[in-house]
Amino acid sequence: MSHTLKTALGVIALIALAAVGYFGLADNLAFMTQVVIMMIFVLSLDYVLGYAGISTLGHAAMFGTGAYAAAIFATSVSSDPILGILAGAVAGGAIALLSGFVLMRAHGLTLLMLSIAVTEVLHELANKYSGITGGADGLSFTPGPILGRFEFDFAGHIAYIYSVCLLLLVFIKLRVLTASPFGLAARGIRESQARMRAIGTPVYWRMLLIYTFGGAFAGVAGALSAQTTALVSLSVYDFQLSAGAVLMLILGGTGQLWGAILGTMVYMTVHQIASSVDPFNWLFIIGAMVLIVVYLVPNGLMALPALLLRWRRK
């Protein structure tokens, strides 16, 4: 099956999934919009972490910057949501590029810690310069109608459809990007930096570019989150957001895009159900689920069918 055909089928599957959610769980549109936004965010992380092997626990830095950029852009330049998304992408990419100059030199624990540090510094700066960001109160704004026609409605129908459209765009873009020679270089870097260097790839600059692209996609997710909730608070820079995204990605399986979609869906659904059934002890469920997956299917839920097949053959 050709790559284009697979992508087309993937898009159809995503649309079908989104439609099932839309008609089947119409009361939970706000939650499902959150899931879709998180999917975009985790996809952007998959591009950085799954494809290029850049381990990070600070992906929220780009999400948060994208969110603030979209909000500030809406209040001071134009309230057009599409332009706001672009602003978020540019801001997310810019922060990734700037921090990437230092981050891409490190690896392992050092890289994890540096990525956390960048997010924490942004968190503190956003708190300190409350004149621009609203500080602890947050920054609320009113996004304009999408394409000048579709107003965000109170029930969240437009927000959901708008988010799904952006998810599809990001998905297609990443499918193309990961199959391109540039994407193959990313996988090569993940597998062996030394060999890539030996065949003449400027590894550092490639990684910097990949991190910047990944940051731009994360910025899109942040901007979308800001627009659909009409509010940006300091929590966009939370460590829990970065760690949660990594959790969802590894849960689903890295380096194949679908793992990001599946992991996000499963994690957020279990989280939602567990925390509504037992608001005090839901962490037991999440912790147990995470451990079971790590010990039984270390490569993530996407590897489950292959694993089951192998067990049956034995």
Binding site: L49, S55, L57, V102, R105, A106, H107, G108, L109, T110, L112, M113, L114, I116, A117, V118, E120, V121, E124, L125, N127, K128, F239, Q240, A243, V246, L247, I250, L251, T254, F280, N281, W282, L283, F284, I286, G287, A288, M289, V290, L291, V293, V294, Y295, P298
Partner: protein, 288 residues
């Protein structure tokens, strides 16, 4: 002058707490080459057990604290064998996932057992209050924390440099393969070191309860803090952890006193600066 004095005393005390909690993490991470995000859980358990032994069993602090540390060490043995052993050979990301899962389970357990309120630890009379040095007075608790921290580093120095176990431990950290070939039971060394690290974390959790309050979400709240000490000091280096903990403790305390508006900006800037210049930390060895 008096501000400077307070900064130094509070900063050093804070640094000692950070060191006591993080040193075990640093050694186990250097020894087993794993990313462990659950270490703060042992500090939480130490504090929670102490709280329980004092309020539930009515024990005095000096009996409750050793009991709590012993309980944490005992608990850490099966945890190492059952939960950590399988992940040593896994990739970095699986380790992140697994140890976050363990953290969640610890948080959920403490939350279920003691609730999500603050678990206060009532210090005995001789440790609370203030001590008069003639020139000025300072909180007695800080003095005890600093003394305890110094005892810990002296004890560790003797253990690592002067005992048979220390020789084996150093061999296992530097060349695990060769050490195993020479007949050193590295898996036993792992286990003992892990339990020791857990016990020290528990001690740090108890001593630092006034600075880092004990509550269910403690391991998640301070996870980054402990990892920072390890990364800045250099994985596996005890002296590195000590320098990093002391430096970061004083820096963080100084900015809280002098530039409270900026929060933890300088703390993280210092980390970026150190790791930008020395990617393996102050005294860390290159892993590759």
């Amino acid at each position: 002058m008096s501000t400077l004095f307070s900064i130094v005393i509070d900063g050093v005390a804070y640094g000692m707490v950070l060191f006591t909690i993080s040193v075990g993490l640093s050694v186990t991470m250097g020894l087993m080459r794993i990313v462990n995000l659950a270490h703060g859980g042992f500090a939480l358990l130490g504090g929670a057990f102490t709280h329980w032994a004092m309020t539930g069993l009515g024990l005095p602090f000096l009996a409750a604290a050793p009991l709590a540390i012993a309980m944490v060490m005992l608990l850490s043995l099966p945890m190492e064998r059952l939960l950590y052993r399988p992940i040593y050979k896994m990739g970095e990301l699986q380790q992140v996932l697994a140890t976050i899962g363990i953290t969640f389970l610890i948080i959920a357990s403490v939350n279920w057992w003691l609730g999500s309120t603050l678990q206060s630890i009532q210090l005995p009379a001789f440790m609370s209050g203030a001590v008069n040095l003639g020139l000025r007075t300072l909180p007695t608790q800080r003095v005890y924390v600093i003394i305890a921290g110094l005892l810990v580093i002296c004890g560790l120095y003797i253990l690592i440099e002067r005992t048979r176990f220390g020789i084996k431990l150093r061999a296992a950290v530097d060349f695990p393969g060769t050490a195993a070939c020479l007949g050193i039971d590295t898996s036993k060394i792992f286990l003992i070191t892990f339990a020791l690290g857990a016990g020290l974390a528990a001690l740090g959790g108890i001593l630092g309860a006034e600075i880092l309050p004990i509550e269910a979400y403690y391991p998640l709240r301070y996870m980054v803090l402990f990892l920072t000490v390890v990364a800045v000091g250099g994985m596996g280096s005890i002296t590195g952890s000590f320098l990093a903990a002391l430096g970061l403790g004083i820096l963080d305390t100084a900015t809280r006193y002098l530039l409270p508006d900026f929060g933890t900006v300088f703390f993280y800037f210092a980390m970026i600066l150190v790791l930008g210049i020395r990617p393996n930390g102050l005294l860390g060895k290159s892993l590759s």
